[in-house]
Point group: C2
């Protein structure tokens, strides 16, 4: 297993929210019950989502959570990253601020270009690409219109997508 249940549960929560009216917040308790997941644990996860600006909360009675953007405008890469942190197949591979994949051990004495770097960067690239190409809307049948082949057309209902410096970035992953 590569992703923890944080991603699994968190994505399920997001999918649950996507099915509901965006203007009527859903309480975590009802989600927990519907999905059969521990409420106290979900609270942690949803906080991560909130801090990344993926969901909005309303406190108090009849409060709850709702998506902060339409489902078509939320890429799964954002969701997973919010829940799991940076996506890297192994320790040394990280994405710098520019989105370029770099090895943390580059520039060590006598560290000729690591033979395995090519492998892991490609793996990372393919994961991120797959995640970036899907949106929340692709997960729920109601919104799924042309989802089988995820179109690159990202302009959803009039709301511009914050550039998010995430998806779409690793055009060419590595050239050594």
């Amino acid at each position: 297993m590569m992703f923890s249940t944080k991603a699994e549960y968190g994505v399920r929560v997001m999918a649950h929210l996507a099915k509901r009216d965006p203007d009527a917040p859903v309480s975590l308790g009802s989600i927990a019950e519907a999905e059969g997941l521990p409420l106290a644990y979900l609270e942690h996860l949803v906080q991560r989502l909130r801090r990344e600006g993926l969901v909005e909360s309303r406190r108090g009675a009849r409060g709850g959570y709702s998506l902060s953007r339409p489902p078509e405008a939320i890429s799964m890469a954002e969701v997973v990253r919010a829940l799991e942190g940076d996506i890297a197949p192994i320790e040394c591979i990280t994405a710098d601020a520019d989105g370029q994949l770099v090895c943390a051990r580059d520039g060590e004495p006598g560290h000729e270009p690591c033979a395995t770097k090519l492998l892991w960067t490609r793996v990372q690239g393919s994961i991120v690409r797959t995640l970036s190409e899907m949106t929340l809307a692709d997960l729920i049948p109601e919104h799924r219109q042309g989802s089988a082949e995820p179109t690159r057309s990202r302009e959803a209902g009039g709301r511009t997508i914050p550039t998010e410096r995430g998806p779409g970035r690793p055009a060419e992953v590595t050239k050594t």
Copy 2:
């Protein structure tokens, strides 16, 4: 981090072996020293590789390990799977004997097709595909001739490679 150091170290060992003459076994001790990894730990990893038939061993003085097939005939998917076990992004997604991706929780009472299944199967597919398209030869510069676009001609060394089918999602994963 998604793969453990088992994969990281193991792949490095394989890459190290690929650089050497296949008929002159290399002792783990020398690899451990060269790569700066603990010998006792590598012993465990290399056993996994051996049980999966990826390396061969010769015991005793002047013994060691060598690849059991030419590098071009060893897909990275095999290597990673030998080291890490089955590749699945989350718990419930597994590949059955046929290579089809199934959810372990399918067929539960009132379990309508899980909304997140589509996401995780795609992720799994893209990882497996990327891993399957690369061979050990692609990692080492000497053998790297036409590696950028991995040829589909998989019959190296006479040994047939287990056909490892991913999900039916053709995509251009990397075009560098």
